[in-house]
Assembly symmetry: C2
């Protein structure tokens, strides 16, 4: 197995056996490939008579998206693995453990999380995750603080950033999030009934201006090691536990991009609620819960981040009075802007979310699409004026009522 | 010559002979080591009977500054060479040509510029360089535009940035420019008679706040490939020609850092004029010329940069109306702030400038030091409010009169 080739089930079993201490000696192992086939092979290796199991994730040298094949560097397997290891070292309870890897074969052997649910699926089913905001707030505060110039030696940070040069996957984000939704592109994907919305996005120059500013931040602001794709499909949950997976988009970028991804995806589920809730009471309860969750995500991030800043700051100049408040306020503005961009692209861009696309009722689905776009646009348009999370809630509320207002 | 060792003159001659076409066959070569011994060996190899000559610059694995030895990566020779090649490819008339190199021995063989003068020396002698602003404006516009996300393929830019991970030399800047002048540090170096100024810098928290913002930009804003140390000692000039040398501090950072370096160093010479000009008329003439030159540097940068943007833009979203103006206005603010930081550190920090330190008269030297600090502080303090180069001239004038004002 020296040069790259896609693994088969038998090779995956041999690999699993070679990891010390993972399976009892002479255990009989079974293997199932459970990947969705778009970007990676995912082998689930289990022991027949015990609960022991393991995941082997292998990158394939292309991405299959809506039938198209894009060539995609296998180096993303190395980036994902180094990101997992870095994040695990900072948040061992919130990230799967890596047991082994091969950069040449582009695979990583890691902890199996079969007992967890993909958060997007759980949210669609209306499940509450009362610990989620606390967990993800801690994850983001710790991974972002300790890989920034605030919490990491600044020379080590530069060397680490050199290991996360990730042009292929950054380009996916640059195209699909920050460009295609605002122009004619064969990548775009939306139903005819919202063609008016797509057209409006293409001609809204004040909106393009705000997107251009956010795009520039994504391209140049090497603030911290991001997960880079922190939507609710990259998070495994139970009501008690949270695990963040799939950081193959990791690179050094603006902190608000990760926080905005989480909040934008909670808001996509929020916008979808009229299509999922069985009655008005359920809808009102879930909507309130989702907004509270979004707010709590920010609040837990902020309180953890400020605590780390006060306790563990390495950068002397950053002790200057007022600087922490300014820095956090900038992250909040970025968070709102990136959340908005991510909502918009999930409605008119290439890649959608099940929260909205699987709503059965046509009218309810269209309403959800328009609502998500209204919220997303309002957040992008006003992100630079935002001063508190309450401002974000106000923008959501106003967009929901069809009124965009300045704050 | 396989492993690193400092070259001797005989080896330098052999190396020079090995460069195809540089010297006539059988030429008799002579070699002199002309470096200042602080960071590099510099061999000047000349033919006895022709005008042919060459420079061989070799890094040594330490920096000697005021008697101290700092260990310093030899990788800076590779960084300098790749920067020279990149800049030469964009501005062949403004950068010495590279003829050969060895990363292992940390040397670069390049064009000899012995007929040029170091610009700082020329300015101290009161020489006018009527083409300088045009040349350096073009150099900065082209090198910064074509290595930014505006003018370079964004994936290639990321890969190129990976070749310019430069922690050792960035740390010198981070410490000496953005930290030491604002705290007690054994690196600081100032005469007793301006101890009051140094003390005031250490306790000026509003100033620290602005410096912290600029420091954050230097640490994180990977906008374009910078020269990284573009003071008047890194520029060779004749009245007709300009060559930019010594880019060993090159890394991907904020464009305003390079532009601010040029302008800050012109302003240091401006502040020194009462110590150099023989009479009031000469002083007034030179001061006016220096301010005009600073202004022209910005204007030539801006007009070239906007022309490249209009003609050669790769980034679609950057065509959004208003974005170019906004982007340029941000560069101007950064330019002013970085210019101010560079002026301050040259008065109280480790490394000074001959423009001021070699003024013979004690009173005139002290006046120049205080004037440079007043200008530097005023630029840093108000950099975020600056809207045009006229605002910068106003801040200079007000500081010179001892009045700091808001704009």
């Amino acid at each position: 197995m020296s040069a790259y080739h896609p693994l088969n089930a038998e090779e995956a079993i041999q690999l699993a056996k070679s990891i010390p201490g993972r399976f009892p000696d002479h255990a009989e192992l079974e293997c199932r490939e459970i990947g969705d086939g778009n970007l990676n092979l995912v082998f689930h290796v289990t022991a027949k008579n015990t609960a022991d199991s393991i995941i082997i994730k292998q990158a394939v040298p292309y991405a299959k998206v809506v039938g198209e094949s894009w060539p995609l560097s296998l180096d993303r397997a190395r980036i994902e693995r180094v990101a997992l290891e870095t994040q695990y070292s900072l948040c061992p309870n919130l990230v799967p453990k890596v047991y082994g890897y091969s950069d040449e074969l582009a695979y990583t052997v890691m902890e199996d999380l079969s007992e967890y649910t993909i958060m997007r699926k759980g949210l669609i089913e209306g499940i509450a995750y009362p610990k989620f905001a606390e967990h993800i707030g801690e994850f983001m505060a710790r991974t972002l603080f300790y890989t920034s110039d605030l919490g990491m030696n600044q020379q080590e940070k530069k060397v680490l950033a050199g290991r996360f040069v990730n042009p292929d996957l950054c380009k996916i984000t640059e195209d699909l999030i920050f460009e295609d939704p605002y122009r004619e592109s064969s990548n775009n994907n939306y139903p005819d009934h919202i063609a008016d919305e797509a057209e409006a996005l293409r001609t809204d120059l004040p909106l393009h201006f705000e997107v251009a500013l956010l795009r520039e931040k994504f391209l140049t602001h090497a603030q911290a090691l991001l997960h880079g794709d922190l939507h609710t499909g990259s998070i495994f949950v139970t009501p008690e536990s949270t695990k963040v997976i799939d950081p193959e988009f990791a690179y050094f970028g603006p902190m608000g991009f990760d926080i905005g991804a989480v909040i934008g995806n909670l808001l996509l589920n929020y916008a979808a609620q009229p299509g999922w809730s069985q009655d008005e009471y359920t809808q009102a309860t879930r909507e309130a819960r989702l907004l509270e969750m979004a707010s709590d995500v920010w609040n837990h991030f902020e309180s953890n981040f400020r605590m780390l800043w006060n306790d563990d700051l390495l950068d002397e100049m950053s002790r200057t009075p007022g600087y922490q408040d300014y820095y956090v306020s900038q992250i909040l503005k970025d968070t709102a802007g990136f959340a908005g961009c991510k909502m918009i692209r999930r409605i008119v861009g290439l890649s959608h979310v099940a929260d909205i696309d699987t709503i059965a009722d046509d009218t309810a689905r269209e309403a959800a699409q328009r609502k998500a776009l209204a919220i997303g646009k309002n957040l992008v348009r006003h992100h630079r004026s935002i001063k508190s999370f309450e401002d974000i809630l106000t923008l959501i509320q106003q967009a929901t009522k069809g009124n965009e207002v300045s704050i």
